[in-house]
Subunit: 280 residues, 2 copies
């Protein structure tokens, strides 16, 4: 099987590495607007050749779209117009607007909307690693609109990547990911800003930061190019989640400020219930 | 040398394990109000015997206080009244109120105020581990009020624990830790609450949570018993930090909601500068 990967960064690159290593595909064609990314992907060797969009789509059996969601909204309809019977999957973090963009496309059935919930705070082809998807969840959205053979192949692909496949409609997907993914990033960005604002002498942060701080702000290293389109596409859900989050923080702030220890205790004990789901 | 450890939880236990393993002390006496903790510490073997406060302090050369800061405020003056020439150190996360509690004590010079910036989200003697302090920072506060031989021993102790020793006055300590430690915990508690509130069906969180969410809410597993006293003792600084943090979140929220992409981009790029200090 020949696979074309559009977008040779962290996600596309990590998928390419393991899909070949694990014999899912025997040839990978890469597409990337950024020439340095394209050349790096070739150098590292997770693609066999670089081609333009049209040629690479025509030659492939499977096309994986792994670019920021704002670019995917433009590229996906083009790809669907080029294909004959090929299968197309995207790996973007928001789904509703992307699905809206192709809902009446004649080749909609050949496309599977997916979101592998994996990543690191790094980006670009240099950040691509083997095993990044292992043991994580891959969400397939609105599968009733995709052809059965297309769903079957994408499920097999995520199986090869050692992921748990979960079906969800795109509206619910965008709500849930606002809570368990998008908010974590905004929380980290804001925390990093708060500390950097205060600590003009960065030596103090370096001296004092312990493991707890590290893990809470790790996501603040994430790239604007990836996250701005996600925040744009999912802004209604994200705004709601941020309002809830700010409200909880305000309750903590007021309870601490007014020495309402019982309130603080019950909030912490309630928060501790996260152990039920995150037991590591 | 005989060492008494008051408080046989994560901090006291982890210190005991490595101080003996690395030949800093050859006998460790444990003190803990909680009989299960005391027996567990004996069973695990990081203390040689359990004793009461007075006897254990009298027998020791060094007394380590590793209990929540509200309890330490009561215990520290008692310990200083029992000692003759022994050296006393505490390992609490806030310093100003604790130092105020003993500032006129006749044995103030025998006491060194310290804060090893290390820990995990777990607690109790079962959570004590070897190596927990390695490569982290240990802060010594207001050392000009401690005897030179006391400072020398405590520096040696933290050296044996593989920590970087940093001197700081207690007021600055409490401000800086509000930014780089206390706020991370409140941010995590509030994030866990926000998600748990929304996701009454916890299965969704479990299904969808990826590495980013895990690391951001990890600290939400931390214990109320440890953190409530810290929040109480440092409430002025924490309130200020939370106000700044909420303000940053509100800016993110408004910029996302109003599609002010340039604002979001410049905030993310500013936050990315955390890479300068957290390069791992």
């Amino acid at each position: 099987m020949i696979t074309t990967v559009i977008g040779l960064g962290l996600i596309g690159g990590s998928a390419a590495i393991d899909l070949r290593k694990r014999d899912f595909t025997n040839k990978i064609i890469g597409v990337d607007n950024d020439k340095i990314n394209a050349q790096t992907a070739l150098n590292i060797g997770f693609v066999d050749e670089i081609s333009d969009l049209e040629q690479s789509v025509k030659k492939a059996d499977l096309i994986i779209i792994a670019i920021p969601v704002d670019a995917a909204i433009k590229i996906l309809p083009k790809v669907l117009s080029i294909i004959d019977k090929q299968i197309v999957v995207d790996m973007c973090s928001t789904k509703s607007t992307l699905l809206d963009a192709v809902k009446n496309h004649k080749n909609r059935g050949r496309y599977v909307a997916s979101h592998p919930m994996a990543g690191t705070e790094f980006s670009g082809p240099w950040a691509a690693i083997s095993g990044m998807f292992d043991s994580k969840a891959a969400i397939l959205c609105d599968t009733e609109d995709s052809d059965k053979d297309a769903i079957k192949l994408i499920k097999k692909m995520y199986d090869i990547l050692n992921m748990r496949v979960i079906n969800m409609n795109s509206t619910n997907h965008d709500i849930h990911t606002a809570y368990v993914s998008h908010i974590s990033h905004i929380s980290s960005f804001a925390l990093a800003l708060t500390v950097l604002d205060k600590e003009k002498n960065e030596k103090h942060i370096f001296d004092l930061a312990s493991g707890g701080f590290d893990s809470t702000v790790r996501l603040a290293k994430s790239s604007a190019d990836m996250w701005i389109p996600i925040f744009n596409q999912n802004k209604e859900n994200i705004t709601t989640v941020l309002d809830n989050y700010i409200n909880k923080l305000q309750k903590f702030r007021d309870s601490i400020s007014n020495s309402k220890t019982d309130n603080v205790r019950s909030m912490i004990q309630e928060a501790n219930k996260i152990k039920r789901v995150l037991y590591k």
